[in-house]
């Protein structure tokens, strides 16, 4: 677990920004972040790609057995 608390905080703040954007605006936002040499741009891109792949694969958060679904 190599991420520091400062890195987690920075990623969290950046996620707030990008997740507030329409999906089709996010790529441009990421490109701008990378152009500004943000150390988090590539990691953020991977995080978003992983999340999007999850969405494509079906329900991201299946209801846990015995707990009445995901709410």
């Amino acid at each position: 677990m190599a991420l520091s608390l400062a890195e987690i905080a920075a990623l969290s703040a950046l996620l707030d920004q990008v997740l507030a954007l329409p999906v089709d605006h996010r790529q441009a936002w990421l490109n701008g972040l990378a152009a500004g040499h943000s150390p988090h741009a590539e990691r953020l891109r991977q995080m978003l790609e992983t999340a999007e792949r999850g969405d494509d694969d079906g329900p991201s958060w299946p209801g846990a057995p015995g707990w009445g679904g995901s709410g």
């Binding site: 677990m1 190599a2 991420l3 608390l5 987690i8 905080a9 990623l11 969290s12 996620l15 707030d16 997740l19 990691r43 991977q46 995080m47 978003l48 992983t50 999340a51 999850g54 694969d57 991201s60 958060w61 299946p62 209801g63 846990a64 057995p65 015995g66 707990w67 009445g68 679904g69 995901s70 709410g71």
Partner: protein, 188 residues
Amino acid sequence: MVANDDSLGELIGQVQRGEAGARDRLFAAAYGELRKLAHARLFHGGRNTYLGTTALVHESYLRFLNGARLSSNDRRAFLGYASAVMRSVIIDAVRERQAERHGGDLQRITLHTEGLDGLPAAEDGVLEIHDALNLLAQVEPRLAQVVEMRYFGGYTEVEIAEALDLTERTVRRDWDKARMLLGAMLKD
């Protein structure tokens, strides 16, 4: 240990009246039931009679908490406490099993929690998530609480939203964001 609805109702009544130590007594009374729930969740997976029974116990608590008009602080505290107990029992059980396995050939156990896409779900992974959640709590305590309540506590988004005074949409966003952060933390 709460044995029936009457005693639970009385304890909640004491909390409502603001009696000294009532909240602690309610929590202590619930502890045994919460441990049972955690073990059922850990070892039985949910699609069987035993978990069905314990889930009913859980629902009984929720029914009382909903009907008793507990203050939002008391309700929030109880549900948070319940999730923390569940997490603690699950983590202790996983560690115990891992220690035992060093001397035998016990089967690995699978934790039946809410899924964390792309994250490990078996024993090692549960401990990793537990550690990552501790870190996340230092930066984003609300996200960590949402994950604890959903992943370890088994609460629904609706229940978490009510307990934390959030909208369901906010809970869902927190959950998604926390999943992304935890995924990045565990990948490194």
